[in-house]
C-alpha cells in the first residue's frame, strides 16, 4: 500500500513540477505577482511529494518487500541494514529517484533561502529548476519506474552487487549527486538572469554559494569514489580515467572555474557573459555525465544498467536544456556589458588564466572520453583512449595551473605588478626548488615526476600560507588573523589542499614499490625495509559472504607495527568475489597487502605494495572541501541573511 502511495506521490510530483515551471515563468514574463508567488509553495510541495516517494521506496528495501522488482534485483534479507538502505540508490531506478529528490531539495532551498532575491528573479530560478524536475520525473515515470511490482514475488532477492556493499561506496553516490544536481541551481540562476536580461554584482553574490556547495559535494563524492577504488579493487590504483570517473570530473573542473569567475562578477562586474556560459556548461556536463553513465554508449568499468531508450531520452533532455539555454545566451549575451576595467597584470587576468586552464582541461577530458565514439562513427575505427592518453594530455594543464596559482592569488584587483607578486613569493620559490633538488638527488635515477610533484605541492602550500601572511600588514600583527574574512581561510585551505593532493598523487605514482610472491604459512619476507609474516589463513563466515582471511604481522626493524587482515570474500548469492586489502596507513606511506589464491605447493600468492604519500591524496581532498565549506560560511553571505531577517521584522509592523 505504502509503495502505491509512493508511486502516486511521484506522479503527483510530476504535475506539481509542471505547475512550478509554467506559472512562475509566465507570471514573471507578464508581471503577475500572484503567479510568481506560487513558485515557492510549489517547490516545497514538489519536495514533500518526492521525499515521501523516496521514503516509500526505502521502506520497501528495509522491509525486504520482494514484490518490488528492484528490491528483488538489488537486495537480500541477510544483507546488513546499511546496505539495505544504500541499496535504494545502488541501482538505476532508485538512483534516479535520489537524483530528483536532490533536485527538489535544491529548488525548495532556493524557495526558503531566496527571500532576498528580487521577486521575478526568484520566480524564474524556481521555475527553471521546476522544468528540470519535469524532464527527469518524466524520464523516471516513462522509462525507469522504481515502483514496478512483480506478479509472483520470489522468496528472496538477488543481493546488491558486493562491490557496492562497502561504507565508502554507500555514501559516494549521494555526495556525487548533491554535486551534479547542485549545479542545476547555478544553471537555473544563469537562465533566469538571461530571461531577466540583467547580470550584476548581486547576481554573482547569489550564485556563488550554490556553486561552492555543489563543488564541495563533488569534491567529497569524487574523493570517496577514488578512496574506495584504492582499498577495494586490490591493486591500489586511485584513478583510472574511466568514462564514469571522467563524467564526474568534468563538472568538477567546470564548477571550479565557475566559482572563480563568479568572484570576478561579484567583485568587479566583469566576465559576466563568460560566467553565465560556464554556469550553463557546468550543468550541461553534469547531464552529459548522466548520459554517459546511463546510456551505455561508452563502456566503462562501472556503468549502470542501460538501454538505448533511456539513452535517447537523456540525450533529448540534454539537447533541449543545452540548446535552449545556449540559444537564449546567444540572444542576450550582448546585453551583458562588462563594467570593471583592469590592467594586463591584475587578479582579473589571473582568474581568466585559471578559467582558461580549467575549461580547456575539461574539454580535453571530454574529447578523450568521447573519441572512441567519434572515431567509430566517422572513420570506422575501433580504438581505445585510456589512462596513458589522459596522463599525457591532462597533466600539463594542472602543472601550469599549480605554477601560476600562488602568483595569481597574490595579485591585487585592477592593477598589479607581476614583479611585486613574484618578489613576495621568493621564500616559497626557494623552498620549492630546494625540495625538488633534494628529492631528485636522493632518489637518483627515477623519473622526475616525484620531485616535481612534491615541489609543486610545497609551492602551493607555502604560497597559500604566504598569501595569508601578507594580510597581516607590515607589523606582523597576529591578531589580524582572527579578523580575516573566512573566504581568505577558505582560499588558504582549498589551495593548500590542492597542493597536498598533487604531492600525494606524484609520490604514489612515482615511488610505489610492488612485490609479488608465494608465501607459506609461517613464512617471513622483506619488502622495502618492512618485514611481513604470514601467520595464518582462515575461512570465516560473514553475514552474507564467506571469507578467506589472512593474518599477517608487519614489522619494521624488528618492531611490530600492526597486524594486517587482507581478505578474499565470496558472496554466494551474487556469485561474485571481492578483495579487501589489508592496509597499514601512515602519514608517509601505506603498506598494502592483498591475499591471492592458494598455490599448488600449499603456499599463498601475496601481493605487497608500499605506497608513499597515499593518504595525502585524500587528506588534500578533504582539506579542499573544508576550504570550500569555510568560504561558504563567509560573512558576506551571512550578512545578507541577517539583513533579510531585519527587513522581515520591520515589515511586520505596518501590517498590523
Amino acid at each position: 500500500m505504502l509503495v502505491e502511495l509512493g508511486h502516486f506521490a511521484l506522479i503527483l510530483a510530476f504535475f506539481v513540477a509542471i505547475a512550478q515551471t509554467v506559472l512562475p515563468l509566465v507570471g514573471a514574463q507578464f508581471g503577475r505577482r500572484a503567479f510568481m508567488d506560487l513558485a515557492a509553495p510549489a517547490a516545497l510541495v514538489h519536495l514533500v511529494l518526492i521525499a515521501f516517494s523516496f521514503c516509500a521506496l526505502m521502506y520497501a528495501f528495509v522491509t525486504s518487500d520482494f514484490s518490488l522488482k528492484i528490491v528483488v534485483e538489488n537486495s537480500h534479507t541477510l544483507k546488513p541494514m546499511l546496505y539495505k538502505i544504500s541499496g535504494v540508490w545502488g541501482n538505476h531506478e532508485g538512483s534516479m529517484l535520489l537524483w530528483v529528490l536532490i533536485l527538489a531539495l535544491f529548488g525548495a532551498a532556493a524557495a526558503l533561502f531566496g527571500e532576498n532575491l528580487p521577486t521575478s528573479l526568484k520566480a524564474r530560478v524556481i521555475g527553471v529548476q521546476g522544468s528540470i524536475g519535469v524532464a527527469f520525473l518524466a524520464f523516471i515515470l516513462f522509462t525507469s519506474n522504481p515502483f514496478v511490482r512483480l506478479a509472483n514475488p520470489p522468496m528472496n532477492g538477488q543481493d546488491l552487487n558486493p562491490l557496492l556493499q562497502d561504507p565508502g561506496l554507500a555514501f559516494h553516490p549521494p555526495f556525487l549527486y548533491l554535486g551534479y544536481v547542485g549545479l542545476s541551481m547555478t544553471f537555473s540562476f544563469a537562465v533566469a538572469a538571461l530571461l531577466e536580461g540583467r547580470v550584476d554584482a548581486a547576481w554573482g553574490r547569489w550564485v556563488r554559494p550554490w556553486t561552492l556547495a555543489a563543488w564541495v559535494f563533488l569534491t567529497i563524492g569524487i574523493g570517496l569514489g577514488s578512496w574506495w577504488a584504492y582499498y577495494e579493487l586490490g591493486w591500489g590504483g586511485f584513478w583510472f580515467w574511466d568514462p564514469v570517473e571522467n563524467a564526474s570530473f568534468m563538472p568538477w573542473l567546470f564548477a571550479a572555474a565557475l566559482l572563480h569567475s563568479a568572484i570576478v562578477v561579484e567583485k568587479r562586474e566583469s566576465l559576466k557573459a563568460w560566467t553565465i556560459l560556464l554556469a550553463i556548461l557546468a550543468f550541461g556536463f553534469s547531464l552529459i555525465g548522466t548520459f554517459l553513465v546511463r546510456s551505455g554508449v561508452i563502456t566503462s568499468v562501472h556503468a549502470f544498467a542501460n538501454d538505448p531508450e533511456r539513452g535517447i531520452f537523456i540525450l533529448l533532455i540534454l539537447g533541449i536544456f543545452m540548446g535552449g539555454a545556449l540559444i537564449l545566451f546567444s540572444l542576450r549575451a550582448a546585453a551583458m556589458e562588462a563594467r570593471g576595467v583592469f590592467a594586463l597584470a591584475s587578479r582579473e587576468t589571473a582568474l581568466i588564466i585559471n578559467n582558461i586552464l580549467l575549461a580547456v582541461a575539461a574539454f580535453v577530458v571530454f574529447i578523450g572520453t568521447i573519441w572512441p565514439l567519434v572515431a567509430e562513427a566517422f572513420w570506422d575505427r575501433k580504438l581505445s583512449v585510456g589512462a596513458p592518453f589522459f596522463d599525457a594530455a591532462f597533466t600539463p594543464f594542472f602543472t601550469v595551473l599549480a605554477i601560476v596559482l600562488p602568483i595569481g592569488a597574490m595579485m591585487p584587483w585592477k592593477r598589479a605588478k607581476l614583479g611585486t607578486a613574484m618578489r613576495k613569493l621568493i621564500p616559497s620559490m626557494v623552498l620549492a626548488f630546494a625540495v625538488v633538488t633534494l628529492v631528485a638527488v636522493i632518489q637518483t635515477g627515477k623519473s622526475l615526476l616525484g620531485p616535481i610533484g612534491l615541489g609543486l605541492g610545497v609551492w602551493l602550500v607555502s604560497g597559500a600560507v604566504q598569501d595569508i601572511a601578507s594580510k597581516l600588514g607590515k607589523k606582523r600583527d597576529l591578531s589580524r588573523l582572527l579578523r580575516l574574512p573566512r573566504a581568505d581561510w577558505g582560499r588558504l585551505l582549498a589551495h593548500g589542499g590542492l597542493g597536498i593532493t598533487i604531492a600525494g598523487i606524484a609520490g604514489l605514482t612515482a615511488w610505489t614499490i610492488e612485490d609479488i610472491r608465494v608465501v607459506q604459512i609461517g613464512e617471513t619476507f622483506d619488502v622495502a625495509g618492512f618485514t611481513i609474516t604470514l601467520n595464518d589463513v582462515e575461512r570465516k563466515q560473514g553475514p552474507n559472504y564467506i571469507t578467506t582471511m589472512a593474518d599477517m604481522t608487519l614489522f619494521k626493524e624488528g618492531r611490530e607495527l600492526s597486524s594486517l587482515h587482507p581478505e578474499k570474500r565470496n558472496y554466494p548469492v551474487a556469485q561474485m568475489p571481492t578483495t579487501e586489502a589489508g592496509i597499514d596507513s601512515g602519514l608517509w606511506r601505506d603498506v598494502y597487502v592483498v591475499i591471492g589464491d592458494v598455490q599448488s605447493n600449499g603456499g599463498w600468492a601475496v601481493r605487497t605494495y608500499v605506497k608513499p604519500l597515499a593518504n595525502w591524496i585524500w587528506g588534500g581532498t578533504i582539506i579542499m572541501a573544508l576550504g570550500g565549506f569555510m568560504s561558504l560560511t563567509d560573512r558576506r553571505y551571512r550578512v545578507a541573511a541577517g539583513a533579510r531577517k531585519a527587513r522581515v521584522a520591520s515589515k511586520g509592523v505596518p501590517a498590523e
Binding site: E73, N74, G90, N91, H92, Q158, N161, L164, L233, G234, W235, G237, F240, W241, D242, S270, V301, H302, A303, F304, A305, N306, D307, V341, F342, A343, L344, E348, I352, I356, L357, A359, V360, F363, V364, I367, G368, W371, A375, W379, R381, K382, L383, S384, V385, G386, A387, P388, F389, A393, F397, K414, R415, I516, K568, M576, T579, G596, D597, A605
Partner: protein
C-alpha cells in the same frame, strides 16, 4: 531490462589477482619492461582495464604473450606491434598518432592557444579603458607627497 547488479558482476568479475607469481620473469629488467608494456594494452573483454590489472583469462594470455615476445628478444615497440597486428587498434590504451587521431592529440594545445588568444584580446580591451583612470605624473607626485606626512 537487465539488472545493474548483473552487468556489474560481468564487467567487474574482480581482479582478485592480476599478475600471478608464476608469470613473473626472473630477469627484473625484462619484467619491468613487461609491466610497462602491459599498462599500455587493454584487456579486450574487460571495460577500461589494462592487462596488468585485469584477472581475466584473456589478459593473462596477453601478459604471457608479452613476456614470451620479450624473452624472444623483441623490443618494446615490436611487442606492441605484434599484439596490435593480432588484436587490432582497440587493444591500445594510448591512441596512436595516425590519421584522424592527430585531431585528438592536437585538440588540447589548439584549444589552449585559441582560448589564450581570445582571453588576451579581451584583457587588452579592458586594459585600453584603464588608461583613462591612470594617474598622471603630477597626481602621483602629489599623492606621494601627501603620504609622506
Amino acid at each position: 531490462m537487465r539488472s545493474f547488479f548483473l552487468i556489474l558482476s560481468l564487467l567487474f568479475a574482480l581482479p582478485l589477482y592480476a599478475v600471478e607469481p608464476s608469470e613473473v620473469l626472473d630477469d627484473p629488467v625484462m619484467e619491468s619492461r613487461a609491466r610497462e608494456i602491459s599498462k599500455e594494452l587493454r584487456c579486450l573483454v574487460c571495460r577500461n582495464e589494462n592487462i596488468d590489472e585485469s584477472h581475466a583469462d584473456l589478459a593473462k594470455d596477453l601478459r604471457l604473450l608479452v613476456r614470451e615476445r620479450l624473452v624472444e628478444g623483441d623490443s618494446n615497440v615490436q611487442v606492441i606491434n605484434y599484439i596490435v597486428e593480432r588484436y587490432g587498434e582497440y587493444v591500445l590504451l594510448n591512441p596512436t598518432l595516425s590519421g584522424a587521431n592527430k585531431l585528438l592529440w592536437v585538440a588540447g594545445p589548439v584549444m589552449l592557444f585559441l582560448a589564450l588568444g581570445i582571453g588576451f584580446a579581451f584583457v587588452r580591451r579592458r586594459q585600453a579603458e584603464t588608461v583613462i583612470d591612470e594617474l598622471s605624473q603630477e597626481e602621483a607626485a602629489r599623492i606621494a607627497e601627501m603620504l609622506k606626512d
